[in-house]
């Protein structure tokens, strides 16, 4: 069961990444970034890596998205 969920998440990860890269509007791709991060966090939990999941959740999905939002805010894109 876990393997099925794991493989589904992997496919969903790739779909989010493609969406992030190939949308025209920048704010769409920045909004997709935390989705990408959260899926990665769930994958790390399935792979028995709690430390990395926590760090990924806070830094890569959390703070990096905030920095991107500030950049979009400052450059009025």
């Amino acid at each position: 069961m876990i393997n099925l969920i794991f493989n589904l998440l992997m496919i969903f990860l790739v779909i989010t990444a493609f969406f992030m890269v190939f949308t025209k509007d920048i704010s769409n791709s920045v909004i997709a970034l935390p989705v990408f991060g959260v899926i990665l966090v769930v994958i790390f939990v399935i792979l028995q890596a709690p430390d990395a999941a926590m760090a990924e959740a806070i830094i890569a999905a959390g703070l990096t998205t905030v920095f991107f939002v500030i950049t979009i805010n400052k450059t009025e894109y």
């Binding site: 992030m20 920048i26 028995q48 890596a49 890569a60 990096t64 920095f67 950049t71």
Partner: protein, 111 residues
Amino acid sequence: MVIPYVVVIILFSLGIYTVISKKNLIKMVIGFTIVESSLILLLILIGYKPSGTAPILDRQYEIVVDPIPQALALTTIIIGGSVTAVMLALVIKIYKRYGTLNVDELRKLRG
């Protein structure tokens, strides 16, 4: 199972493609985030043992997941986060100076 490794390769190549070919600077930094996330995923995948448990040994487990890649993944996440922050600061500075984020226009403006 080979699907995870194939996904890592797809993400790595996608990220490199974004960095090379995308015109918008922010899209380029997003490409870096994708490449970095794929490398962290590869790190965790390497350390995983089927039916292993997390490396917290409050009591004895028979199969424990390899702790070294997780420590390296933590370090890579932090380094990636700091480098992304610096890149975005420079992107804002470039936008304030040249008024555009498009790489081609930048090249024309710079002359």
